[in-house]
């Protein structure tokens, strides 16, 4: 994998203060910026910054671009996506005038303020920024993921509730009935009750990110966009490489960090900011006078150890200060990862949409001390040690009302049916669910779980007729 041109991973170059403050590019102006070990004047810095972005965009165009492509820009309003909006718009306005590739540009913002129970919406602020550009704007709220329109068949209109603990079935039935009578439980309340039952910030951050990602992908699909631009910069990607690995999401790492990937099939994910560090972006925005929107996070004002992601970020930016190649080394190493061949790309986690390994529940039981689900005492037939306790003891189920699914496999007299969701979750999502007794999940999760279950059932039925790959090799 490693080629000779790649500089080896070195940490021995402790930051050396530059003595001569002359721009290394034009070699005439006084330097005003230090990036890694290089000093630049303001115009040269901007030139290099824009050049790096254009180079990435050129790469995408030659690889995957279609003619008449509609694209979507994910804009949180934070520094990186703010800079990306400007840089992309410059390219697009040039292309639109020449009637080349990109024909329609959407900007999608997801307001996360419901998570923090803030009254003000960020949508207006972000829309004001977008108005300066020649793009179409769509502002959503994160709780919109609970509405019917963000499912594939657009009619899965149902609050879904997962019951891990069978002893709470009765309670659950009552609750389910209440919800359906009680239509005024808003999407916002559903989201808040979901987050309330997740006790640790790491899992909570995870949930929020994957709900947002699902919402972005669904929105891109609805608008007919075949490409979604995300503003992850290299500092962010380096953090993700470490934090996702720590959270047991190593197998989906390439999908979450690569500059370009088509894992989602009809929507290609592009990350044109992947080579810029957060310092460069901060300086670029400052010099161009770009206003950014402050997006609070679950760990705002919290100590370092409040979540894995927060701890990782502090660790990486701390290292980067003394060893200015930290971020680029991690990001460059990570960019060499590819999706494992042993991953069946039809195995998609119903919640985070990322691939999971075959036999994930056995994998889980083998490698972890965490028992999932946690309520071992509620069943009699499972009094063995944790690592022997497989899913049959306490299946995680999703319930949906009969009316919602026209294609229900087994109609029952109950007004809801349970969908087993545990075997359609990836390892990390199962860990996240570990201390959750009951939870509201958005409809897309149940839809995906149902689809997966149907596929798994089908596979089981035809299994004996399948020829194993191993047989082929022999």
């Amino acid at each position: 994998m490693c080629s000779i041109e790649d500089s080896p991973i070195i940490f021995d170059e402790v930051k050396i203060k530059p003595e001569v403050k002359i721009c290394i590019k034009c070699k005439t102006s006084t330097a005003t910026i230090l990036i890694r070990h290089s000093t630049y004047c303001k115009p040269c810095f901007q030139h290099v910054f824009v050049g790096k972005f254009r180079k990435n965009m050129e790469k995408y165009k030659t690889s995957n671009s279609k003619i008449d492509e509609k694209v979507m820009i994910g804009l949180s309003g934070g520094p990186s996506s703010r800079a990306m909006l400007h840089l992309l718009s410059e390219i697009f306005s040039h292309e639109l005038s020449k009637k080349q590739s990109f024909t329609e540009v959407w900007v999608c913002h997801i307001d996360e303020n419901s998570i923090f129970n803030l009254k003000d919406s960020t949508i207006n602020q972000v829309e004001q920024i977008v108005q300066k550009y020649n793009s179409l704007f769509i502002g959503l709220r994160i709780e919109d993921i609970y509405s019917d329109e963000f499912t594939s068949n657009m009619e899965f209109g149902q609050v879904l509730k997962i019951s891990i603990d069978k002893s709470k079935q009765q309670e659950f039935n009552e609750f389910n009935a209440t919800i359906r009578q009680n239509k005024e439980l808003s999407n916002k309340e559903k989201l808040q009750s979901l987050l309330e039952c997740i006790s640790n910030l790491t899992s909570k951050e995870d949930f929020v990110w994957y709900l947002k990602l699902s919402l972005l992908i669904q929105t891109a699909r609805k608008k007919g966009c075949t490409r979604l631009f995300l503003g992850d910069c290299s500092t962010r990607l380096a953090t993700k490489i470490i934090s996702l690995t720590s959270k047991g999401r190593g197998s989906s790492l390439p999908i979450e960090i690569l500059g370009e990937n088509n894992y989602f099939g009809d929507v290609i994910i592009s990350r044109p900011m992947k080579d810029m560090i957060s310092k460069e972006i901060g300086l670029y925005n400052h010099y161009l006078g770009f206003e950014t929107v402050f997006i609070p996070s679950l760990t705002s004002l919290q100590p370092s150890k409040s979540s894995i992601e927060r701890l990782t970020e502090d660790f990486i930016v701390g290292l980067e200060r003394d060893y200015p190649s930290t971020v680029s080394t991690i990001a460059r190493t990570g960019s060499k990862l590819t999706i494992s061949n042993s991953i069946d790309d039809e195995n998609r986690c119903a919640l985070c949409l990322m691939p999971y390994r075959n036999e994930n529940k056995f994998f889980q039981n083998r490698i972890t001390l965490t028992k999932i689900p946690s309520s071992i005492s509620t069943t009699n037939d499972c009094n063995t040690a944790t690592n022997n306790c497989n899913d049959h003891c306490n299946p995680v189920t999703v319930s949906c009302s009969q009316s919602c699914c026209s294609d229900c496999i087994k109609p029952t007299k109950l007004d809801h049916q349970n969908i087993e969701i545990n075997n359609t979750l990836c390892h990390a999502c199962r860990v996240n669910m570990r201390d959750i007794n009951e939870i509201f999940l958005p409809p897309y999760v149940a839809e995906e779980a149902k689809r997966q279950n149907r596929r798994l059932d089908l596979r089981k039925n035809i299994e004996e007729f399948l020829i194993d790959d191993i047989d082929d090799d022999q």
């Binding site: 996070s297 004002l301 970020e313």
Partner: protein, 105 residues
């Protein structure tokens, strides 16, 4: 003998303003020699801010005797890393931006 005062314009952004009651800009008057007989340096200014302006969580502004990693400082639009960082001598009328590049401020 009292030292002459110097006026400095401070700016907080990128979410850093939440440590300062959401105040994004403040002009302050500080002694030209906070730590006599030396002239006031960036190190003194950062400490002065922590002691006089921060409303909450000073550990999210400073670590050790310097600024928390991930917070950029611009002195009159120049990266403080080319201005000697903590050793920079504060001058009357300086515009100093503190800009957080961290996720969630």
């Amino acid at each position: 003998m009292t030292q002459p005062l110097i006026k400095v314009n401070l700016f907080f952004s990128g979410g850093l303003e939440i440590l300062f009651d959401n105040i994004k800009q403040k002009t302050v008057e500080i002694s030209s020699s906070i730590n006599p007989p030396n002239q006031t340096k960036m190190e003194d200014l950062i400490k002065w801010i922590r002691e006089n302006l921060i409303k909450t969580k000073p550990e999210l502004f400073m670590t050790g005797n310097t600024i928390r990693p991930g917070i950029l400082i611009l002195i009159n639009d120049v990266d403080w890393e080319v201005e000697g960082e903590l050793e920079y001598t504060i001058k009357d009328g300086d515009n100093i931006h503190f800009l957080s590049t961290l996720h969630g401020g």
